[in-house]
C-alpha cells in the first residue's frame, strides 16, 4: 500500500515509469522475464547508470558535467591503444585511466570553482578539447580492441549462477558503485554537496571548503565516466563514437529520476532508476518495432511527459490536504517528537 503510494507520488514517478516500461517489454517479449535475459538488460544499463550516478553528484551541487561523453570516448581509446593485446598492461593502464579521470575532474572542478566559469561552459570546453585531443592523438581511429582480459570486465561475468543464470561483472560493479554512491550521499561530502546546490553562500559561511567539495563532485563524475568506459570497452569495443551523447542521456536520466537541475534536491536511487527507465524505453522501442525514424519522437514525448508529471504532481500535492502530506514525511522521524515553543506550555489566553 505504502509502496503503491510512493509510486504515484512525484518522487516515485520514475519508478512507476520503469515498472510500466518493463511490463510493456515483458508483454511484447515474454522471454525478457527470464533471468538470463534480464541480467543482460542490467548489464546493458550498467554503463549509463554508472554515468548517471556521477552526473547526479554534479547536478545536486548545482552544476553540469557535459564532458562525460567525451571522457568516455577518450578513455575507451586510451584503453584500446595502450593495452593492446598485452594482458600485463591491464592494471597499469587502468591506473593511468584513473589518474587521467582525476585530472579531468580536477580541471573541470577547479575551473568552475576558482575561475568562476559556469560549469556548463567549462565542461562544454572540456568536451570539445577531450574529443579533439584524443582524435588528434590517434588520428581518428583506435588501433583496435584491447586484450580480452581487459574486455572481460564489461563483457563477461559469472556463468551458471543459480537462479540468475548469468551474473555479469558489470552488474556487480553497478551495485558496488551505487552502494558507494549512496554511502557518499550520507557522508558529510554528499550532504555538503547538496547544501552547495541549495545555498552556496551558506556553505561558505559555514567554513566548508566549497571549492574542494564541488571539485570532488566533478572528480566523482569523471571516475564514473571512466568506470563506464571500462565497461563499454568490453561491451561494445573500441570506437570513437562510444560514449557519444552519454552526457545528455545521463542528465536526462538524472532529471527523470526527480533530481532538480540547479541543485539542492534529488535522490541518487532515483537517478539510477532514471537510467533504467531510459534504457528500458530504448529497448521497448526496439522490441515494439517502432520505425527507427520515429523512435526519437516517441522518446522525446515520454521524457517530457514523465518530467512534467512529477513537476505538476508535486505542485498539486503541495496544495492538497493532510492525508497526502504523510508521504512527505513518511521517513521515520528519528528524533524525539517535535519540540515545542514556549507558548505551548503556558497558554495564557
Amino acid at each position: 500500500m505504502n509502496a503503491l503510494r510512493t509510486l504515484v507520488s512525484p518522487r516515485g514517478a520514475v519508478f512507476l515509469l520503469l515498472v510500466l516500461l518493463l511490463v510493456a517489454v515483458t508483454v511484447l517479449n515474454p522471454s525478457f522475464a527470464e533471468p538470463g535475459q534480464f541480467m543482460r538488460f542490467l548489464q546493458r544499463v550498467a554503463p549509463i547508470a554508472i554515468v548517471a550516478i556521477g552526473q547526479y553528484f554534479v547536478i545536486i551541487a548545482g552544476e553540469f558535467d557535459l564532458s562525460q561523453g567525451s571522457l568516455i570516448t577518450a578513455q575507451v581509446i586510451i584503453a584500446g591503444n595502450l593495452v593492446g593485446q598485452d594482458d600485463a598492461r591491464t592494471v597499469p593502464v587502468l591506473l593511468l585511466m584513473v589518474v587521467f579521470a582525476v585530472a579531468v575532474g580536477l580541471v573541470n572542478g577547479l575551473l568552475t570553482t576558482l575561475l568562476k566559469v559556469p560549469s556548463f561552459i567549462v565542461t562544454l570546453g572540456m568536451m570539445l578539447a577531450l574529443l579533439g585531443g584524443v582524435m588528434w592523438w590517434t588520428g581518428g581511429a583506435a588501433t583496435g580492441n584491447p586484450a580480452d582480459s581487459f574486455r572481460e570486465i564489461g563483457r563477461g561475468g559469472i556463468r551458471e549462477v543459480p537462479l540468475l543464470d548469468f551474473l555479469p561483472w558489470a552488474v556487480l560493479l553497478l551495485i558496488v558503485w551505487l552502494a558507494l554512491g549512496i554511502w557518499i550521499t550520507k557522508r558529510p561530502l554528499g550532504k555538503t554537496l547538496i547544501a552547495v546546490g541549495d545555498n552556496p553562500r551558506a556553505v561558505d559561511y559555514a567554513g566548508a571548503r566549497r571549492a574542494w567539495v564541488t571539485t570532488r563532485a566533478f572528480v566523482i563524475s569523471a571516475l564514473s565516466a571512466t568506470l563506464s568506459a571500462v565497461l563499454l570497452v568490453g561491451y561494445a569495443g573500441v570506437h570513437p563514437s562510444v560514449g557519444r551523447g552519454y552526457e545528455f542521456t545521463a542528465i536526462t536520466a538524472v532529471v527523470l529520476g526527480g533530481v532538480v537541475l540547479g541543485g539542492g534536491r534529488g535522490w541518487i536511487v532515483g537517478a539510477v532508476a532514471g537510467a533504467f527507465a531510459l534504457e528500458a524505453l530504448f529497448m521497448l522501442l526496439n522490441i515494439a518495432g517502432v520505425p527507427s525514424t520515429l523512435r526519437d519522437a516517441v522518446q522525446g514525448v515520454i521524457i517530457i511527459a514523465a518530467v512534467a508529471y512529477s513537476a505538476v504532481a508535486f505542485r498539486a500535492r503541495r496544495r492538497r490536504g493532510p492525508q497526502s502530506s504523510e508521504t512527505v514525511t513518511d521517513e521515520p522521524v528519528t528524533a524525539p517528537a517535535p519540540t515545542r515553543t514556549i507558548h505551548t506550555e503556558i497558554r495564557g489566553d
Binding site: 582524435m135 525514424t293 519522437a297 522525446g300 521524457i303 512534467a308
Partner: protein, 364 residues
Amino acid sequence: MKRLRIDSTLIVLAILLLVIVVGAILVGTVGRNFLSAGNIRDILTGMSVLGLVAIGQTLVVLGASLDLSVTYVISLSSLLAATIMNGNAGNIPLAVVVTLLVCAGIGLLNGLIVTVLKVNGFIATLGVGLILQGILNTNFEGAAGSVPWAFQLIGATGVGPIPVSTLIMIVLAVVVWLLLNRTRTGAHLYAVGGDPEIARLSGVRIRMPLIWAHVLCSVFAGLAGLLLASRLGVGSPTVGQQGGYALLSIAAVVLGGTLLLGGRGSIWGTIGGVAILAVVDNVMSVMQINPFLKDVVRGVVIVAAVAVYSRRSIVRRRPRFGPGGTRTGGDDAAKAAEPEMAAAAAELADATPDTTPAAEGGRA
C-alpha cells in the same frame, strides 16, 4: 557619485579586439591578409547563421531557460522553406510566412512546456528536439525542395565585403536590443530571468515573457534555417546538426557575458561572443590547423574567454580602504543627505500634526 562599472559587454569587445589583433598577426605569418575582402566575408558569413541563432538563444537564456531544440528547428525550417518555394520565386512570401509560423508554433510549444508544465528548459527543449528529429527523419529522407534564385541572393550577395545576411542579422539584433531595453516584455523577461518569484510579487505575469522568449528563439532559429536554405539552395534535414548550433549558440551567449542563470546580459555581448568564435575559426582555417586540434583550441578559447570576466562580474562591495578604495562611499552620501532627510522627516511629520505617537504604549 556614479561608479564606473566595467560592463561585461565591454570586456567581451576587448577580448574580441585582442583575438582580432592576434589573429591578424597569425594570419600575416602565413602570408595572408586578415583584412582582405574575402577574409572579412568569410568571417562575417561564419557569423550570420550562428549570430541569428544566438540572438534568439540570448532571449531564452536571459529568461533563465535554454533552447536545445534550435538545431532541429533550423533543419525543419530549411526544409519547409525549400519545399514550399519549390524553385518558384512567387512562393517565397508564402514559404517564409509558413516557415516562421511553424517555428513560432514550436517555440510556443517549448514555452508552454517550460512555463505551464514546469519542465526545466534543458529537458523540455531536449525532448522537443528529439520529437522534431523524429518528424524530420520520418518525413524527409534527404535534401529536398529547391530555393529560387531570387531567394538564394540573400545568402550569396553583399555590400562590399559585408554579406547581406550579416546586415540582416545586425538589423535584427538592433530590433531585439529595442525589444529588451525599450519594451515591457523585455523588462519583464529580465525580471523573470532574475527571479520569477520577485517578478510575480511585483505584478509581472511571469509566463508571458518566457513564452515570448521561446517563441522568438524558435523564430530566430527559423530565420537561421531560411538563411541556410538560401545559401544551400535546398532544404536539408541535417543542416542544423551540422553546425552544432545549440551548444555553440549557448557558448556564444555566455561568452557574451549573459548569465546562464538569467537576468543579466546583452545582445551586443552575444554578437561579440559570436564574432570571437567566428574569428578564431577563421584564423584556424587560414592556418590549416588539424581539424581535431581546432576543437581543442575552440574549447580552450571558450573557457578562457569566459574566465576573463566571470570572476569580475561577481558583485563586489566598494572597498573603503586601501588601493582603489574610496571613503566617499554610500555612507558619506547618506551622511551628507542626513540633514536633508531629517528636515524632510520633520516636514512630513509637521504636515500631519494630529498623529501623536501613542507614548503611553511605550515600554513598561
